[in-house]
Amino acid sequence: MLEIKNLHASVEDKEILKGINLKVNAGEVHAIMGPNGSGKSTLAEVIAGQEEFEVGEGSILLEGEDLGELSPEERAHKGVFLSFQYPVEIPGVSVTNFMKTAINESRKAKGLEDMPANEMLKKIREKSEMLEIDRKFLSRSLNEGFSGGEKKRNEIFQMAMMEPKLAILDETDSGLDIDALRIVANGVNKLRGKDNAIIVITHYQRLLEYIVPDFVHVLHNGKIVKSGTKELALELEEKGYDWLKEDAVV
């Protein structure tokens, strides 16, 4: 599904990603953990096509196709989805209208007609029920005045609507209380399938109790310094990151 080879990225001449290698197969869930400032969010945004970062060496392949030259929207059309750590507030555009526009623009890019209104409504109802989102919520302005938890739930709602091939969840657990975490994790688990892949970026092991990963990677100082199975997450929870940092120096 996704293959990242020796990826380097920098912002204003400061190198943040220093040679990332990562392979994610269809049907897998990968967790990327690491201390603050290790480059986790940068990796997520670079995959999604944030133009603020200068990508130097390396490549990102989605189903064998190089994403390098593609705009964020083209990547979305190919099936990349990023659940933002800090979703942006957009007053004046309702959640429903935003989703209609997003879905129909993606369909247009694929040469499809707009989704019929009744089908759209049905889908919105279905997915919002899955995430226990109140109908009234959908007519509110996108993220405006939403609590941290509401914003994250809304991100997963968008993911459910867009049905991406590759979803990257950037710190989706931050700002969620335990009930919201359960609802969001349930939603994500329902979206797991053999044809898609999920990358979960998190600071804590907590989320991984609900979304159980196949592989866990530790990112430190712009590189993946350790990879393992879900047990690695437990080890990190116990020992912290310092022992890995020392390893990296060696």
Partner: protein, 438 residues
């Protein structure tokens, strides 16, 4: 001969065709003297620092159109809000077009200034209201008063409301190489009356047009007036709009100004609160490109206690366009408990576009709430990336953000068809198709 000289000397010819004994004529005579003394405003005056009329004064404008022109409805239909039934007062090159209009005298008067001036039955109204709100000092208003002859006359008696909204449409055919128009409108809503008005100036060709318009609006006690100005003219059409609004107790007047096209637009929007518990609302959306220029000069004069005013102007400036927002609020000493709010937000889309924004608050009372805010920025890159990451292309994402930016001005438009039309004009301007109306 420059434009000022031409206008002053034309006044004598103009006078010839008028009834010199009519009381209005005295106003005209005073006004031409004031204009002659002051001339066109220059950039040396603080109020005209950012807007120059110099270029317009070099154009050889016809002051009285030589041709009489008729237009087919089908050719100008698109400039009407034809989706709904309305009364219409239509002028072609400054001359009333009965063919394109639909006036009424059924309980309310929706007709012409020329009738109001000439027919004795309207004399009492003219005496009470005409030229009572308009400035006698400001030179362009004086110029309009001097040549006042035609325009829309709308009179809504006590407790009345016209059956439908009223459209005032000024069309310029381009049959003159360059044409100057000076419409004069009078709108009176007596106590507890209500009216909705849409005003538009539209040139049909690329020939130069310069409109110097004066509108006086009077709201009686408890009256409600919603006034919409649609400014989406050709790039050779310039407009100076002088609007004077006088409000009595408990009245509500809302003016929305949509400045989406034209060469040079100057809106002088003046509110005078002559009563208590008055609500004045001034909202504007300005979206410009090319070398267009729009200058909003607002004035709200709080002269009595317990009144409110709300100003919200949004501007988006692309290419080499320039904008001005000057919002003046005066709170008299006796106007305690005034609640005056003013906001002006701007987005600059290019390095060459300019906005000059200036709040001007003169507060003489000590128990008031006055707030003002102004922002000038660019489109939020984070928000743009967020939208694009959801598959919305850059151009559409930018348009969506601009829509969102203008939305809270649009949402208070009370005629849904008008709102849809403005949305369409904006979408066309931004070159996108939106899947929904905001």
């Amino acid at each position: 001969m420059d434009l000022k000289e031409k206008l002053v000397s034309s006044f004598f010819a103009f006078e010839d065709g008028m009834d010199l004994d009519h009381p209005v004529h005295e106003e005209r005579s005073h006004a031409i003297k004031n204009f002659e003394a002051k001339g066109f405003p220059t950039k040396k005056e603080e109020a005209w620092k950012y807007t120059s009329l110099k270029g317009l004064q070099k154009v050889d404008f016809s002051i009285f159109p030589k041709h009489e022109t008729s237009l087919e409805y089908k050719d100008v239909k698109k400039y009407f809000l034809h989706e709904i039934d309305t009364y219409k007062i239509v002028f072609v090159d400054g001359v009333y077009s009965s063919y394109l209009s639909e006036t009424t005298h059924d309980g309310v008067d929706v007709c012409l200034m020329s009738s109001a001036f000439s027919k004795p039955m309207y004399q009492p109204i003219i005496e009470v209201y005409f030229n009572k709100a308009a400035s006698k000092d400001e030179s362009l208003t004086s110029l309009n008063t001097a040549f006042c002859k035609e325009g829309a006359y709308i009179y809504i008696p006590k407790n009345k409301m016209p059956k439908k909204p009223i459209q005032i449409l000024h069309l310029a055919t381009g049959n003159e190489a360059a044409l100057m128009l000076q419409p004069r409108n009078l709108i009176v809503a007596e106590d507890n009356a209500e009216v909705q008005i849409i005003e538009r100036h539209q040139s049909l060709t690329g020939n130069e047009v310069f409109t110097n318009s004066v509108t006086e609006i009077f709201a009686g006690k408890d009256a409600i007036i919603n006034y919409y100005k649609v400014q989406n003219d050709e790039s050779t059409a310039s407009l100076v709009d002088n609007t004077y609004i006088s409000q009595k107790d408990n009245s509500v007047v809302r003016v929305h100004t949509f400045s989406l096209g034209g060469k040079l637009i100057r809106n002088n929007l003046n509110f005078y609160q002559n009563g208590e518990r008055i609500d004045s609302t001034l909202k504007g959306v300005t979206i410009l490109g090319d070398k267009q220029h729009v200058d909003h000069h607002t004035l709200v004069h709080h002269a009595q206690p317990n009144c409110e005013s709300h100003q919200d102007y949004k501007g988006i400036f692309g290419d080499s366009s320039t904008g001005v927002f000057n919002g003046k609020i005066i709170v008299d000493k006796i106007a305690q408990k005034t609640d005056a709010f003013q906001q002006n937000n701007n987005i600059l889309l290019s390095d060459r576009s300019t906005i000059n924004s200036k709040p001007q608050l003169e507060i003489f009372a000590d128990d008031v709430k006055c707030s003002h805010g102004c922002t000038i920025g660019q489109l939020d890159e984070e928000a743009l990336f967020y939208l694009r990451s959801r598959g919305i292309p850059k151009k559409e994402a930018k348009a969506l953000l601009m829509y969102a930016f203008a939305n809270n001005v649009l949402e208070s438009v009370r005629i849904p068809e008008l709102k849809a039309r403005i949305n369409k004009i904006i979408a066309n301007k931004l070159g996108v198709r939106m899947g929904f109306d905001l």
